[in-house]
């Protein structure tokens, strides 16, 4: 059985997305528990970027069975059940927008110094939240500094035949913070779940490595790459190229 370690200085910001589910699953499996989790629920009727309507997991990440009674399952989301089961303190935010004042205030009054960020897709942390005196640890879906921006792993499949993930602290410049850990991975054979599952798994692996490195470096954040200012900025890949990458 994996021993548990609670990181008293580290919190987690999660959204109701597959990526957040995968992060939490990997952290719990590793026995790495955050001191606090802020859950940004989507109360709207429409799915937000990063959310899927149908089950994208194919039984890989979701537990194969749950012993929790139905009444418990009806009351709490999968994310919340995981948090309750592992006795992790959490707060549900009324806003899904990380830049909302309510979220800024929640984070400001928390004692944790570093927050692992896994929000909804297409949202950038703006100046007010970046200025609250906390560090935001983000795992980017791409090998830095070569691949910055959006949908990088489709571009890197077509160019290099690889996918990547890199952990950084967020700054006001997109994907340009110092790189703590970066890794390359072989793309999955079936790439149809890249958006929601495979990309998330690569990021989660790098997140675990990042925390292991933090422990190994005696609770210091040392960087694999100090200068992450160069590199190419990518934008959302056109569906034709995405299809070619998936079918490749």
């Amino acid at each position: 059985m994996t021993s548990k370690r609670v990181f008293s200085e580290i919190g987690l910001i999660l959204a109701e997305t597959t990526r957040s589910d995968v992060y939490l699953e990997f952290l719990v499996n590793e026995g790495f528990l955050p001191a606090f989790v802020l859950v940004m629920q989507n109360k709207a009727n429409n799915a937000l970027p990063g959310q899927v309507v149908t089950d994208p997991l194919g039984g890989i990440v979701q537990p194969q069975f749950e012993i929790a009674p139905q009444s418990f399952r009806d009351k709490y989301s999968l994310l919340e059940r995981k948090l309750l089961e592992n006795d992790i303190e959490y707060e549900i935010s009324p806003s899904h927008d990380i830049n909302a004042e309510v979220n800024i205030q929640i984070l400001k009054r928390r004692p944790e110094f570093v927050f692992v960020y896994s929000g909804y897709g297409g949202v950038f942390l703006r100046a007010p939240i970046l200025a609250i005196g906390k560090k935001f640890l983000h795992v980017h879906g791409g090998y830095l500094p070569d691949y910055k921006g959006s949908t990088c792993n489709y571009f890197s499949i077509l160019t290099d035949g690889k996918i990547g993930a890199s952990s950084i602290f967020l700054t006001d410049k997109l994907d340009s913070g110092n790189v703590i850990v970066r890794r390359l991975f072989a793309p999955p054979k079936d790439k149809r779940n890249m958006d929601h599952l495979d990309d998330s798994i690569c990021r989660a692996k790098v997140l675990i490595e990042t925390l292991k490195k933090y422990l190994a470096d005696s609770y210091c954040w040392n960087f694999e790459l100090e200068d992450n200012s160069k590199g190419e900025m990518y934008y959302i890949i056109h569906p034709l190229l995405k299809h070619i990458a998936i079918l490749n």
Binding site: P49, G50, G121, G122, F155, L158, T159, R192, D195, E232, M233, Y234, Y235, I236, I237, H238, P239, L240, L241, K242, H243, I244, I246, L247, N248
Partner: protein
């Protein structure tokens, strides 16, 4: 299932392309059909106009090869050769000329004063690229700035501040989109390795133009340039599809 990205007017309702659903290998055929049908329409429209045979032939020649359903390497090479010949001879039916001496191409620094009209800048960039007199560093700078502006705003503005930082004026001037499309296509053609970032943007710009392509029908020169751009895009995309074993 049709190719969705040219069905609705993208000037009014732009696509953000986020989390585009995987539709299987049929999607590639839908894309090809969309482009080939647009080339066919352009070709026919141009045939009905009193343009010189030389001008008409440029798009028709490329379009004819593109209509080869097999899109074999032979036909692609021929199409590329035809385009190269036309650019060498400068016979696009539109003269890309230097408009004035106070070069917009040097308004790179955002701290400079002045206003960049997209048409003037694109005109000069195309002039330089087609005459092989372009400064590669500057050309790449402007390509990246246009890509950034289009990807973020989904618009090409009538004018920008220096460095193409802030846009202003009209955003529905179709000729600006056609010129950006052609600029991306021509630079894709001439560079050594394929820039997927540039091709991705070209596909989106051409989706937008394709969604309002009837607006081109009164402008033979724009039809011609768009036709060439589409043919180049199709050629590059088809090479990639070939690489994926389709």
């Amino acid at each position: 299932m049709k190719y969705l990205y040219t069905l609705r007017n993208q000037l009014e309702e732009p696509h953000n392309y986020m989390y585009a659903k995987f539709q299987g290998s049929n999607f590639i055929e839908h894309y090809k059909s969309d482009r080939l049908s647009k080339l066919s329409i352009l070709s026919n429209k141009m045939q009905n106009r009193s343009l010189s045979s030389e001008l008409i032939s440029s798009v028709r020649e490329v379009a004819r090869y593109s209509f080869d359903k097999r899109l074999s390497i032979y036909s692609i090479n021929d199409a590329n050769a035809a385009v190269q010949k036309m650019t060498e001879n400068g016979c696009f039916g539109i003269k890309f000329v230097v408009i004035n001496n106070s070069s917009v191409i040097d308004l790179i620094d955002r701290k400079q004063s002045g206003r960049i009209y997209s048409f003037a800048l694109l005109n000069q960039l195309l002039h330089d690229v087609l005459k092989s007199s372009a400064d590669e560093k500057k050309t790449n700078f402007w390509i990246n700035r246009f890509i950034h502006q289009f990807e973020v705003t989904k618009k090409i503005f009538e004018y920008y501040s220096p460095g193409l930082v802030k846009g202003g004026g009209a955003t529905d001037l179709i000729y600006n989109y056609v010129l950006v499309s052609f600029f991306l296509a021509v630079t894709l053609e001439y560079q050594g390795s394929l820039s997927l970032k540039r091709l991705s943007c070209l596909l989106k710009v051409n989706d937008l133009i394709g969604s309002v392509s009837t607006q081109l029908f009164q402008e033979p020169v724009l039809m011609q340039i768009f036709g060439l751009s589409l043919a180049l895009e199709l050629s590059k995309s088809t090479q990639l599809v070939g690489g994926s074993g389709d």
